[in-house]
Amino acid sequence: MNPLVEIKGLSKCYEGKKMALDNLNLTLPRGRIIGLLGPNGSGKTTLIKLMTGLLTPTSGSITVNGTPIGIFTKSRIAYLPERTYLQSNMKVNDMIEFFTEFYPDFRKEKAYEMLNALGIEPKASLKTLSKGTKEKVQLILVMSRDADLYILDEPIAGVDPAARDYILRTIISNYNENATVLLSTHLITDIESILDEVVFIRYGQLVLYNSVDNIREHFGKSIDAYFREVFAC
């Protein structure tokens, strides 16, 4: 089968600053859960914003399903941004209606099932929710879509450990062989057992792209320990 994501010679230079991404080449297959890892300022969020079409590259190209990033790819990518955009006066169930109307692939029952499992009241107003609960709602909205590519920027940073386990299990049980989940995080220990592969980037360049078990087998250490070694300050 053709790869899901193809990134070729991708560079992004912010005005008057250094290169945030520097000639990055990466091909991501379908049916994988992939960790995007790197120290602060390594280009993770820039890469994600380029893949979701929020930024345009200085040079190079990205295709998803063979289609260049644009309106169509947005309909096939479910994106969880780093910061929450749920600031409105809407209620949780209004938000679900909104998503149902907006995305043809949105599965409403799935969303309610997850809200219930996490004990979130659908009639609650978004602005009354705590930061962590807001993050959970946002993740539910993203994971309830039937997308080809899920891009999650720091999905578990603000939630408690118990909800973290539930979220990771949701990602696993949501897994299907045609879709890929790409997630960035600094909480490597919490997620490494659910990952197939990891991408390490630094200074906007690819450092390594390999499977979790290959790294453990070859270096005899966890991804977390290996990350600390590769990126030691």
Binding site: G31, I172, Y175, S193, D196, D213, R216, A225
Partner: protein, 122 residues
Amino acid sequence: MAWTLDSDRPIYLQLVEIIQMRIVSGIYKAGDRLPSVRELATEAGVNPNTMQKAFAELERSGLIFTQRTSGRTVTENTELIFSIRESLAREQLMQFFSKMKELGYEQTEITALINQAAEEGK
């Protein structure tokens, strides 16, 4: 038997060991149907592809079989299960003996201690 995973060894190998242990100890009996990859992956909190890899490894050793109609089942070859059980037991014994030798015990002292402990544990 919980899915406790070490952080420094390949995950699929540890899954193989845990499933093997479940078969040897009779949690999954000879001829039993196994839960699906997805069920077990969710239970263990691991990637489904990794669980798949562990199953492939167990199939290679003949301990489990894939049947077109009924998913995966544990082998009915009880001899194979017993021989794996015995090799696991030997492994435990070897570890035990090497620890005891480190503590400076002689062969005869070790046997005496084992007998004594067995008496007390009755």
